[in-house]
């Protein structure tokens, strides 16, 4: 996580390539990984999630890591030569994959192809995303 705190000490990147990043859970809460892009509305700030059970905790872990990877993905579309951010992308994509694996082991598939070979077909089981599954 050091990379999130010590941007200013990195001298290997050009000035415009340096990105000051929020911590993953804070970035997810705010909807923005990049500190210099963040703009609040009338001082409103989101609150940190307090997962109520293991399912929520494990799903949140997938969502947070996927979000960070996705934010870096959008950045890299425009800056495909930023080596540090490419590394960071792969780090978070890997974490997201692992988090998804952990979730699916206990709570069923997020992607249909990860369904267990059981009857009835595991994929159709509730909850669906709009059913307060958080």
């Amino acid at each position: 996580m050091e990379i999130f705190e010590n941007q200013h000490q990195c001298s290997c990147q050009k000035e415009q390539d340096k990105q000051l990043l929020f911590q993953p859970s804070e970035a997810f809460m705010l909807g923005n990984l990049f500190q210099d892009l963040y703009q609040s509305y009338k001082g409103f700030s989101n609150y940190c999630f307090q997962p109520l059970n293991a399912r929520q905790q494990m799903l949140l872990n997938v969502q947070i890591n996927e979000f960070v990877a996705h934010e870096i993905n959008l950045y890299l579309d425009n800056h495909p030569h930023d080596k540090r951010m490419i590394q960071l992308y792969h780090e978070y994509a890997k974490r997201a994959k692992q988090a998804q694996k952990n979730f699916e082991k206990q709570f069923g598939p997020l992607n249909v192809s990860n369904s267990n070979i059981t009857k009835p077909f595991q994929w159709i089981e509730e909850p669906w995303p709009w059913q307060h599954q958080i």
Binding site: G31, Y47, L60, H70, W130, Q133
Partner: protein, 194 residues
Amino acid sequence: MWSYSKKLQYPVDIKRKDIQMAKYIITQFGGANGELGACLRYLTQRYTMPDDKGKALLTDIGTEEMAHMEMISAMVYQLLEGASLDEIKAAGLEAHYTEHGVSLYPIDANGVPFTVTYFAVTGDPVADLAEDMAAEQKARTTYEHLMDLTDDPDLLAPLSYLRQREIVHYQRFKELYDEYVKKYYQPDIKRCQK
């Protein structure tokens, strides 16, 4: 192609039924500045982007907009859950109820159905990206208006999150817009070397 992941991009768990807010928030599904329009706009414009950056960015942001449409739909669905006929009447949603029950349908806050004329595809990357930047700003404003209309933290959290996404998307579109203007419309300008 796309593959579906059985989760929301960001949690939506609304405990307080609010038919009036459902009536307003649905505009971010089917309104002029809504997520359905955003998603169709970017995923249609991407084919004529001039280089790899544009093709990638419009694909990736267009894909994220689908996830936002899903969040908005989940919000409307949960806000209407268990609504009685009296509550539907009190919120002035009888017409919606007549046509759609308490189901989802892409309309704006005035009940006007979605139309593809909400977005343009010109084939000119600079013109298209300028529209995309404006679209993100208009969506940001709409989210702010929606935030003004509620004090429910379960609504404010996802609305604030979605508003922030518009800000990030705007920045990405602007970066590409500036690059394309220099590349395609000012290629002969000699720039000062630092």
